[in-house]
Symmetry: C2
Subunit: 399 residues, 2 copies
């Protein structure tokens, strides 16, 4: 290499951000510190112990006894692919519930694997109705019913228990995306009879992106073991990965050690707070945010019973420019706000209150900044009205 080709970049100095988009969320300093711990090898006795601890903590978080509960070495979408590619073979039938981007992605992932994909659809922003799943299953047996618990593209919280019951009545495995819900609201894998469940680390777990916690029921593991052909992905094949995370400790691929250090600390923080207290914190900050938004006459996309506390999708008011407001928040306050995806692009904002980002401080600051941003766009709003409404909501709920 010629000396002239050597472009040495400056020190890494990204801006400080308050992350209130659809993820990643802000990461607790203890997680960053744990992540920067010097490494041991992926077969070191110390690391094997850490792996077992992470599994035990993940089981508590998923509320499951499934032995196969591990963090996959990829982001949430790798977890989605893990669930489908381990359970589906070419020609297998799968029913996917689609009411947002991630349901669409499930169809794409399953279709690439050669599966026969049927869809149950609902308008973006509304939950899937159990009746439509039941009707679709009457038309023919499927191996898997797949659904998204928390649609990050729309902010819909999908009730799961009835659909699980229907899937089981029709002899199907129940596959659920909990990328955005896990650690922010109740996810009860065993009680809801979920067979394959995946999540991501960068939402309500408040750990950097890079790992995807997954859990498979014994029924799902039996389905994996009775496959006719090998899993198409070597990297995501749980029948091999199980040998590394299980008692055998047989080398598969080099685990992302620093990320697992980070996840362990994020899980420790979650258990120190307590799951119920954490869910209540997410709910309370959501209610205060909603009160502030109401003061600005900004409406939610989703009907009240189905709103996610950690992902608030709201309609951009008429006459207000999407990009102007997002730039205002980013440049004047360092706040990241999410835009809409697909058919909702330019029509909604997605306000994340996830994990370590879900705080009273962030809610009040965000509302103050948004109040000012929409005023700059010509909306007639009283300065400080939104934050005042949120403070009033806090004082009511804190009683």
């Amino acid at each position: 290499m010629k000396e002239s080709d050597r472009s040495v970049f400056e020190e890494l100095t990204p801006s400080l951000r308050i992350l209130m988009g659809p993820g990643p969320s802000n990461v607790h300093p203890r997680v960053l510190r744990a992540m920067s711990t010097p490494l041991v090898g992926h077969l070191d006795p110390d690391f094997l112990r850490i792996m077992s601890e992470v599994q035990a903590l993940l089981r508590q978080l998923f509320k499951t006894d499934n032995p196969m509960t591990i963090p996959m070495s990829g982001t949430g979408s790798a977890g989605m692919e893990t669930c489908f590619c381990n359970l589906l073979e070419r020609g297998d039938r799968v029913l996917v519930c689609v009411n947002g981007l991630f349901g669409e992605r499930m169809c794409d992932v399953a279709g690439r694997l050669g599966a026969d994909v049927s869809r149950v659809e609902m308008e973006w922003g509304k939950p899937i109705e159990p009746k439509t799943v039941e009707n679709a299953l009457k038309a023919g047996k499927v191996k898997i019913v797949a659904i998204v618990h928390a649609e990050t593209s729309t902010g819909v919280r999908q009730p799961l228990e009835e659909i699980s019951r229907i899937a089981k009545e029709h002899g199907a495995l129940f596959l659920v995306d909990t990328v955005t819900s896990l650690a922010g609201c109740n996810v009860d894998v065993d009680a809801w009879d979920i067979d394959a469940c995946y999540s991501g680390t960068q939402k309500c777990l408040s750990c950097p992106p890079g790992l995807s916690p997954v859990t498979f029921s014994d029924k799902a593991m039996n389905a994996l073991r009775s496959r006719k052909h090998k899993v198409s992905s070597w990297y995501l094949d749980l029948s091999m990965i199980e040998r590394y995370w299980g008692e055998e400790r047989f080398y598969h691929h080099t685990a992302p050690i620093s990320m697992i250090y980070a996840l362990r600390e994020a899980l420790r923080l979650i258990m120190e707070e307590g799951l119920e207290a954490r869910f209540e914190r997410h709910r309370l900050n959501h209610l205060a945010l909603a009160a502030g938004l109401a003061a600005l006459e900004i409406d939610f996309l989703v009907d009240e019973p189905y709103r996610l506390p950690m992902l608030n999708a709201v309609k951009i008011p008429d006459g207000v420019n999407d990009l102007n407001v997002r730039k205002y928040l980013l440049q004047k306050f360092g706040i990241e706000l999410g835009g809409g995806l697909g058919p909702l692009k330019g029509k909604i904002w997605r306000i994340g209150l996830m994990g370590h980002s879900s705080t009273k401080q962030n809610v009040v600051l965000f509302l103050t900044a948004l109040n000012s941003a929409v005023a700059a766009e010509g909306m007639k709003v009283a300065p400080g009205a939104a934050a005042a409404a949120a403070m009033e909501a806090y004082s009511q709920h804190d009683r």
Copy 2:
């Protein structure tokens, strides 16, 4: 969750290790510090700039102008799968060179994709002979010739230029594994006419495991664009990932931000040292290690011209217990030494001198520890002989 179920684990306190196995290697403190930088979003203007910088640095390291040069969001094996799954369709023919575990893995990965896999084989510990590749290609046209540059399971450095020429003469794409070689010895993607190349971050780049740098030539990208069917893996589909890393910045999956911070700093350290100086450091420490091992009458598995400087595979002396020695090194010195894999299990040790682990200090300490460990196993060796021989080698080469 019942209070009794809450098992809160202690603070993360893994042992301090000197990593001299087959990877991960020790990580420079500057990389750990960069990795623990608070996060920005994956579509933040600051992060988009960082992505472009990482791409520019990776191109320098791979010695390529390929626009498609990016870190994949998975470990080295995900990089292997990326190369095969983007370029192969069901029924495509591929020729894989197999002289170790990672050549075997290539066959497994390609076979799962429905490809028609032929093999050229050589005993573990010896390089593939170009003539055998030529003969295999005479038997029928293939889409890809795939080979491992640095076999981590055996310590063989595979000369590539002649095999590349042969592959091209027969109209095949040339796919190369540089997981262990990249940043430790010369890898020249453009000069060697490599079409698809992948590596890992946890070897000579001395960055934590979790990313796989890959580069695709324009010819490989054209092959991807003329596929009949979608890539079987959504997560690894470069035709979509290209839209996020390219000018469009279209969201695909959430990038592993902290890992990319770490990679950027690791690449900065590499460019500050200079590639040639870095290769020379790896070579010199290898030669000193070899001198020390010779003093203990411990033999290399691989003939001298084909030895890798960063991965030294040596035969375990008769009468010496593999596990005893590795335990001695780990427990008394905190040194991780690698064992053998597959047919070489219990027969060889793999001594890594990769990236930040390749230092004079580590060589001298390791030899002192090994000297003592094999003496404890009953070998008649003079105390300190190995380290003395290494010091003598350093003084000769430092002249």
